[in-house]
């Protein structure tokens, strides 16, 4: 009776890759020592941590000395935002930021720091003219841009954004959240001229609670966490060697398999999109106008809240995600969906379908059929 599970929520999190698990285990068992201990047991773990740092930095296109291990991108983003807030200068963010950047920015705004939002067009890309105006108007200490949107998959043109920043305000810190892109899109931090980048391990088949803040160019934000001085004073607290080894191994795998994983995900996404476009009426694909992530598909349907569709899909074993909630008054469209100007009639009915190399073509066929069935059924029930 119960349908087999089809996991289409890889943008939320991913299972642990067997090679990652393998890399983590020694530090949960025999190699338990504190990497700050000066005895041989500690030093053995220290070498492993530093080895992981080198491997991770190489994948992220930076120097090992600039790599700060954190608990994940939320901490990395918080470190940058809170560590670079300056009185008299503004912070610029976008309307597509993940809450791990949007919320700290709102918090800083509440403390009296000035936060400005760069406008975007209906495809989700930042309006470079508006960004230039913001940078000219007033000195900015930080520009924070999510590289690939977790909700709609839109990829920002960091080449162009970096150029604008360096031309108008060379000292402005340019930070990007590459959580969703690192697994699928090549990183060019030097060409983009970014100062920092965040990643999380669990989105790329690594462990939860592990991530990094990659610093380029020698400058550092004020630390968020003070204590024993680990991570060159930028992130105190005993390192988590198993998480660190897991992150490095997951990043390695990203670099090695990026193209094939991206191609695989894009094929599945395109097939799903094809079914939706050709066989389901009154639906729109969000952020499809320009470059976007291969593994994220955001769709809005007219006629019902996205969460209701989500729960109906789960009855067929299909696991997806949504930003809207059934109980909120306007069947709450998310900030990002609103930023794209999706019509209200559709915005509340948004779901995110996300893919990975672990999904098969057959799964997509079954999931697409389930989607069609459930949309038709729900439309028969009607919205009001």
């Amino acid at each position: 009776m119960k349908a087999p599970t089809i996991y289409l929520d890889s943008a939320a999190t991913t299972p642990l890759d067997p090679s990652v698990r393998e890399a983590m285990l020694p530090f949960l068992e025999d190699n338990f020592a504190n990497p700050s201990s000066v005895h041989p047991l500690g030093q053995k773990v220290r070498r492993a941590v530093e080895d992981a740092r080198e491997r991770a930095a190489a994948v992220l296109g930076g120097e090992p000395a600039g790599l700060v291990f954190t608990s994940g991108a939320t901490e990395s983003n918080n470190t940058v935002l809170r560590g670079l807030a300056r009185k008299g200068k503004r912070i610029i963010i976008t309307r597509l930021e993940h809450p791990s950047a949007a919320r700290p920015a709102a918090y800083l705004s509440g403390l009296g720091f000035e936060v400005a939002e760069a406008a975007n067009d209906s495809s989700g890309r930042i309006d470079l003219g508006h960004l230039a105006d913001l940078l000219r108007e007033k000195p900015a200490s930080l520009l924070c841009v999510i590289h690939g949107s977790n909700e709609v998959g839109v990829i920002q043109d960091l080449d162009a954004i970096g150029a604008v920043v360096r031309e108008i305000s060379p000292r402005t810190w340019l930070h990007t959240d590459a959580v969703q892109t690192v697994g699928y899109v090549p990183l060019h931090p030097q060409r983009w001229r970014i100062d920092s980048l965040s990643v999380s391990a669990h989105k790329i088949f690594g462990p939860k609670g592990a991530g990094a803040l990659m610093l380029y160019g020698g400058r550092s934000p004020e630390p968020l966490i003070h204590g024993g001085g680990q991570e060159r004073n930028l992130r105190s607290g005993t390192e988590n060697p198993s998480a660190i080894a897991g992150l490095a191994t997951a990043l390695d795998a990203c670099a090695r398999h990026r193209t094939e994983r991206a191609d695989h995900a894009a094929r599945l996404r395109d097939r799903m999109q094809e079914v939706i476009t050709n066989e389901i009426s009154d639906a729109c694909i969000n952020g499809a106008a320009g470059e976007r992530l291969p593994h994220i598909l955001s769709v809005s349907f007219a006629g019902f809240p996205g969460e209701v569709l989500l729960h109906h899909l789960e009855t067929e074993g299909v696991m997806v995600s949504t930003g809207s909630a059934c109980h909120s008054a306007e069947a709450g469209a998310s900030e990002v969906i609103r930023a794209l100007g999706v019509p209200a009639r559709l915005a509340g009915g948004t779901i995110r379908i996300s893919f990975s190399h672990r999904n098969t073509d057959d799964e997509i066929e079954r999931a697409a059929a389930a989607l069609k069935r459930q949309v038709v059924q729900l439309r028969e029930v009607g919205s009001q």
Binding site: F304, P305, E307, V308, H311, H312, E314, T315, A325, C326, H327, A331, L378, E380, V381, G382, S383, Q384
Partner: protein
């Protein structure tokens, strides 16, 4: 008791109303003692005795916890954790001294404490009567504790002394119970439980008047997440402790809502949903031998609670519907929900209905004829049968 200086502890449990119940008194007392034993299962204690007009629990290991548990049993008027000594004036005086010393040190500062001794002699062979006993002990204690000042009308500290045939019970604390009558003595009822504030309070009030309550709730999966049931389960778990255990029956409701939405006028939906809920509750009541339904309805708060709509909804029920909150203001329901520990669960943000089914403008005044006509478009029996056949059941023990 291995330490001879530690006096044996007791709980003195008083009941009010059941003492007045003439012919039924014995069975009520038995039920109360049985419920009390259930409530005290988690706190080890000795024998439970039923001398006249009281229940005495011997040797509670944790008297404070046992007193709290006993005070939550319906039918209990008040509970005092105390000690027992031999009916001998020297022993009584020594015990009174040590209890008073403790009560005085528990009150911070060195300001005056108003004080009274309340003696009660039920064994007339004891040489002093109640008045004499109180006066004698009061004199000793006033001499010994300079902070004490006599105030017989509203004392801050009362030393209770109950003289029985073979023992004397002393106590300084009195925890008020909820009153009411023992659960199970007035029959079974099915309570329609939602995630809101009112229905748990209504269920509690029915228990307080002696009903053993079974719970039913209605779940619109997959229009609502499975997680929306968690709140209802937590409410049931909380209420279970007032009647030593509870069962929650979950009726699938999505198909019924879809059928009503497709076939019936939008404005009548709210009333039609509730009529189906009432029918399912009646079915459960019949199966379980319950004699009435309990709802959290109050008069005139929202569309489903106008007098007209209460009538239209009750029209679908073939059992009496008890509405303990009918005269409650919202604030009164909230106050009581806080007291019984359901409020914090009820206010968790978890939807109990899906926007898909909410009518834009629900009818405020319906008639039974009108809603019956609207139901003609449905196969009511089929829908009820189908849901009832798929009832889920969750059992909650008294002590989680």
């Amino acid at each position: 008791m291995s330490d001879p200086t530690v006096l044996p502890a007791v709980l003195i449990v008083r009941y009010a109303e059941i003492g007045l119940k003439g012919g039924n008194r014995r069975s009520f007392e038995k039920a109360l003692a049985a419920n009390l034993k259930h409530a005290l299962k988690a706190t080890p204690h000795g024998p439970v005795e039923r001398p006249r007009g009281r229940i005495v629990v011997r040797d509670p290991i944790d008297p404070a916890a046992a007193a709290r548990a006993a005070a939550a049993v319906f039918g209990v008027a008040s509970v005092s954790p105390g000690i027992t000594v031999a009916p001998d004036m020297d022993a009584i005086t020594a015990a009174a001294r040590s209890m008073t010393a403790q009560a005085v040190t528990e009150r911070p500062g060195d300001g005056p404490i108003t004080f009274a001794v309340k003696g009660r002699r039920s064994d007339k062979s004891f040489p002093l009567d109640s008045m004499e006993l109180s006066a004698r002990l009061g004199g000793v204690l006033l001499g010994e504790f300079p902070r004490l000042q006599v105030d017989l009308s509203r004392p801050q500290l009362t030393l209770g002394v109950e003289v029985r045939k073979d023992e004397v019970l002393l106590y300084t604390e009195r925890i008020e119970g909820f009153g009411g009558i023992p659960v199970g003595t007035t029959g079974k009822a099915v309570s329609l439980l939602s995630g809101g504030i009112d229905s748990p309070v209504a269920s509690w009030l029915a228990m307080k008047r002696g009903a053993r309550v079974l719970f039913i709730t209605y779940h619109s999966y997959p229009f609502l997440p499975e997680a929306s049931l968690d709140k209802i389960k937590d409410l049931t778990r909380r209420l279970a402790r007032y009647q030593h255990g509870a069962v929650l029956h979950v009726a699938p409701f999505a198909d019924i809502q879809v059928a009503i939405k497709k076939a019936c006028p939008e404005a009548l939906r709210t009333v039609l949903f509730r009529r189906m809920m009432a029918r399912l509750a009646c079915r459960l009541a019949r199966r379980e031998g319950a004699l009435s339904l309990v709802t959290g309805e109050s008069l005139g708060q929202v569309a489903s609670q106008t007098m007209e709509n209460i009538r239209s909804i009750a029209d679908a029920s073939d059992l009496p519907v008890l509405r303990p909150l009918i005269g409650f203001d919202k604030t009164e329901a909230i106050d009581l929900a806080r007291r019984i520990g359901t409020y914090d669960i009820s206010i968790r943000p978890q939807p109990d209905s899906c926007t898909v089914f909410q009518p834009r403008k629900p009818a405020i005044k319906t008639t039974p004829e009108e809603v019956r006509n609207a139901e003609a478009a449905l196969d009511v029996d089929d829908l009820v049968d189908e849901s009832f056949a798929n009832l889920d059941e969750y059992v909650f023990p008294a002590v989680p």
